[in-house]
């Protein structure tokens, strides 16, 4: 049974009008480019270049270390300036390859040569995706080739293209579907070739009518694809909620989508798959939104991975007026940034600059919990945040686990809705870390 939505969730102000009508501009970075070795879930990649080595755009500069890992590709040409720890968006130093960009963007040979994917075997397709360093570009950064190799490929009956883009402000997926629907469809064709029993569903929230229209047109002649319109609600694009909305199947926290016969990929990831397999183009650039009321000219960009946030902000006209807060990613699940001289990684999709900090106001308005139960009503995975908070504050970890506190997605819905402005999500993230680190000991 299809639902088109899920139980719970919240409706934060979309704020997409700031940038949803700005076409994607191609941005070629000029300065030095920084490539952290860990831009994905799994083991960090191992450098295969040395200082002062010349590199070409599209060249592998760090190789995946093992199966669950991903290659890092240089997105520019030039020479390796350093391999050293650099500040990353997490606020911590992490090993990075720094490339002195010559601005020429000289491509490695063979990039851009079209390949007919129908003539490739499954193994060849997966090899190309793996070599291209494709990871989940919606935010998770899980290596895509791993996701495309489930134990039960014949049981997969749904390929879900995640075009929900439920985070407020962000519009790059919306623009991608409007401007380059062929990339998404091309990526889906490749994935469908891997799973002969599956059909593809392109799931889009109903606040993106142009994207829906554009995708419908693009799949007009496709037998195994359809567009599904979802209710606009956060976190509609969360994997478990999306699978439920599209198929009616309920994924437990311990399930992978593949257990339920589903493969879920972000539309941007599908575009990357298309480029990797059909155009022999590894993952070098991705859609990116720079927006917020403190940005002079909010817009959507096709940005080279490794570009610094400061540079892309400059491309969007820089800061206008007061700047109070910088968010990397969406406002619900993104990270607050302290320094913009950090590189854009594969899984990042937005920079939001705000002149007001809603959290600052919330801290002033904080009161004791009034037990209103709104957190329970909005939790997209059926948890009881109020009870979790009580257990977490008492450091009663046994109780916290018993009431399934570790299932929390940290989606932020409970914190968003809380009238008492309790910092619930923060508490849950900390508690989860504490419990997991105790287990390791």
């Amino acid at each position: 049974m299809r639902h088109n939505t899920f139980r719970g969730g919240v409706h934060p102000a979309a704020m997409k009008e700031l940038s949803c009508n700005k076409p994607i501009t191609y941005h070629r970075a000029k300065g030095e480019m920084v490539f952290p070795l860990s831009q994905h879930i799994g083991k960090p990649a191992v450098p295969v270049v040395k200082k002062n080595d010349p590199v070409l755009a599209g060249q592998i500069i760090a190789r995946a270390d093992g199966f669950v890992s991903a290659n890092i590709i240089s997105s520019c040409s030039g020479k390796v300036a350093a391999i050293e720890p650099r500040l990353t968006s997490s606020g911590l130093m992490a090993p990075c390859i720094v490339i002195d960009n010559d601005g020429e963007y000289t491509m490695k040979e063979g990039i851009g040569v079209e390949t007919d994917c129908a003539k490739l075997t499954s193994a060849q397709i997966l090899e190309k995706i793996q070599a291209a360093g494709v990871v989940g570009l919606g935010g998770a950064g899980f290596p895509t080739h791993v996701k495309l190799m489930p134990k039960n490929p014949d049981d997969i009956d749904y390929i879900i293209a995640n075009g929900a883009e439920c985070e407020p402000y962000i519009t790059c997926d919306d623009r991608l579907m409007q401007e380059q629907p062929g990339w998404v469809v091309g990526g889906l064709r490749v994935v469908l070739q891997l799973f002969p029993h599956a059909r593809a569903v392109i799931a889009i929230e109903n606040n993106k009518p142009q994207a829906i229209e554009s995708m419908r047109k693009a799949i007009a002649n496709e037998q195994r694809m359809e567009v599904m319109v979802l209710k606009t609600k956060f976190p509609q694009g969360g994997e478990r909620n999306l699978v439920h909305a599209v198929t009616g199947r309920k994924m437990a926290s311990t399930d992978l989508p593949a257990n339920l016969g589903c493969i879920v990929d972000n539309v941007t990831t599908l575009a990357a798959i298309y480029h990797a397999v059909c155009l022999n183009e590894p993952l070098m650039e991705k859609g990116f939104t720079v927006t917020g009321d403190a940005v002079a000219e909010p817009g959507n960009f096709l940005v080279k991975i490794g570009t610094s946030f400061a540079e892309i902000l400059e491309a969007a006209g820089g800061i206008k007026g007061d700047l109070k807060k910088l968010i990397i990613g969406g406002p619900m699940m993104g990270v607050a940034a302290t320094d913009l001289n950090v590189p854009i990684c594969k899984a990042y999709n937005a920079l939001i600059c705000l002149s007001e900090d809603p959290v600052e106001l919330a801290e002033e308005q904080m009161t004791a919990c009034i037990r209103c139960g709104r957190c329970t009503r909005v939790c997209p995975v059926g948890l009881t945040p109020q009870a979790m908070a009580v257990a977490a504050e008492k450091k009663d970890f046994a109780r916290y686990e018993k009431i399934h506190g570790l299932d929390c997605l940290a989606c932020g819905s409970c914190t968003y809705i809380c009238p008492a402005k309790r910092p619930l999500t923060q508490l849950f993230k900390q508690t989860k870390q504490m419990i997991l680190s105790r287990r390791k000991r």
Binding site: H244, D357, G373, T376, G382
Partner: protein, 513 residues
């Protein structure tokens, strides 16, 4: 670069604040408040203002003295004050709302840690405190000095009531009397997410079922409608039981809690008195909330749905809660029945001693079936349609001498109009209807004042008189046969005694002679 704010996600927040949630409740209560003031007049407005003022001032002063952050602006004290005022009689003196709100905020809320920490609804706890401390004032819903019964009191004595008037609020009762206005507010809160449907629906639903099963008339739409509209049930179901702080967190918990208080309310209404059934039921429900919360944690999304062998089972929490609710209901019912009999037995023993005093020539006492049948008919309702205030005929016994000849009758009556609760007494008559004496079986009045009713100087006045009705002479120095001198300083008690004796005379004349 300028300093930036760093925080954990999410970085956006809804507009809701504790204050906005509280003031939404105040807004939802406005129709009922306005109707109360319109219907009952200026004094009702004073009560409301005093109650709100007292609640807010208490919180402010406590926070100040205890060096706690000032929490007055979150509006929860305003809600407490307003709710308390709406369930008070429009005639209470102003110290009642003042003390009630003071107790509600100070004892029930602030001392337990303030907002969110109280385990009982402060307004209801304040009301229960007032009911226990100032019973007579709190249960007097009379307007303009006229004593008049509330619709539910009339209903419980078999009288008929106008349900439409009750629904709209054109009747006697508490200030927040208009069901229509309360419903309007309730619908507003439901629509804006201030409350959810689970508690009101499960509360009213289980109440309706239980009243139909236990009540005197079975399933009867008119009777149910009157029960719904009276006794503060709407105020309780929509605004008191749904108080977020003292109700469960989850939807399942809400339903269990609603069913529990619905059953309790029905039991209290059917076997008890209407004035306080809703208050006590919800307070008892409040006490169960931590337990309900502990066991009503729902299953997270998808857990166990994809297991190999799905076994259809009743959710454990639901089963446990149903059992607890049923057991608690049964236990309460059982206790009620058992104590009722025990208390009655004790009363009878006490009464026997008094019968011997007031029918001097009798060696033994017995019942006359015809008379007892009449007593039964009147024992559950006020006798004399309010002519003697709240008077109940308890028992009539026939006194016989050693050879079995009837020598007189003793009638045990209770007046609920005492200064501090019930006044019960036995009146002895000889066969001509001359009073042989009166003897108290229940007297808990003020020592030195009302308690002096038991002294011969007062109660001896009735002996040897044979009149159709006594009148109370507050000035003293009576000479007429039918005049009784009041105990000085205790005219309420004296009045209750005279009313009780008059009811006994009335009953004797009509049903015994």
């Amino acid at each position: 670069m300028k300093k930036l704010n760093v925080s954990s996600s999410p970085h956006v927040r809804s507009r809701l604040t504790t204050g906005s949630v509280m003031y939404d409740v105040v807004l939802a209560l406005m129709p009922a408040t306005f109707f109360g003031v319109y219907h009952f007049g200026f004094h009702a407005l004073l009560i409301i203002l005093m109650s709100v003022f007292s609640a807010v001032a208490t919180e402010f002063v406590f926070d100040y003295i205890a060096h706690r952050p000032n929490t007055v602006k979150d509006g929860s004290a305003v809600v407490t004050g307003l709710l308390l005022a709406l369930c008070l009689s429009p005639t209470v003196p102003l110290y009642i709302p003042f003390l009630g709100s003071l107790f509600a905020i100070l004892v029930v809320k602030s001392l337990f840690g303030g907002l969110g920490q109280n385990f009982m609804n402060p307004a209801l706890a304040g009301r229960c405190f007032l009911l226990i401390s100032f019973g007579a004032v709190m249960t007097d819903f009379g307007v303009d000095g006229l004593s008049s019964a509330t619709p539910l009191a009339v209903l419980s004595t078999g009288g008929s009531v106008n349900v439409i008037d009750m629904f709209l609020g054109f009747t006697t009762g508490a200030i927040g009397i208009s069901c229509a206005a309360l419903l309007l507010g309730g619908i507003y809160l439901l629509a804006t997410g201030g409350i959810t449907w689970q508690i009101p629906v499960s509360y009213l639903g289980s109440f309706a079922v239980a009243v139909s099963l236990l009540g005197p008339v079975g399933f009867n739409v008119r009777y149910l409608a009157a029960q719904f509209c009276g006794g503060g049930l709407m105020l309780g179901a929509l605004f008191m039981a749904t108080d977020p702080v003292t109700s469960p967190i989850t939807a399942g918990g809400h339903i269990a809690y609603g069913i529990f208080i619905g059953l309790l309310t029905a039991i209290f209404r059917v076997y008890g008195t209407a004035t306080d059934s809703v208050s006590y039921a919800i307070i008892l429900g409040n006490i169960l909330v931590p337990l309900i919360d502990r066991i009503s944690i729902p299953k997270p999304f998808g857990l166990g749905d994809n297991a190999k062998k799905p076994k259809p089972t009743i959710p454990k929490a639901a089963a446990i809660l149903t059992c607890i609710t049923l057991l608690a209901g049964l236990a309460l019912g059982a206790v009620n029945f058992m104590t009722k009999d025990a208390i009655e037995a004790q009363n009878l023993a006490a009464n026997m001693a008094s019968y011997s005093t007031v029918v001097p020539g009798a060696e033994s006492f017995g019942y006359d079936d015809a008379i007892t049948a009449n007593v039964k008919e009147y024992s559950e309702e006020t006798y004399g349609r309010g002519m003697y205030g709240k008077v109940y005929i308890n028992e009539v016994v026939v006194g016989q001498d050693a050879s079995g000849n009837t020598v007189g009758y003793a009638i045990n009556v209770t007046s609920a109009d005492g200064f501090d609760g019930n006044v019960s007494l036995s009146v002895g008559f000889d066969l001509q209807g001359t009073i042989q004496g009166i003897s108290f079986t229940e007297l808990t009045e003020t020592p030195g004042l009302g308690m002096r009713a038991d002294e011969d100087e007062f109660k001896g006045q009735f002996t040897g008189r044979n009149v159709s009705k006594f009148t109370l002479n507050k000035a003293g120095g009576s000479t007429a046969q039918d005049e009784i001198d009041s105990i000085s300083g205790a005219s309420t008690t004296s009045g209750a005694v005279v009313n009780a004796v008059n009811a006994a005379i009335d009953f004797y004349a009509n049903y015994v002679q």
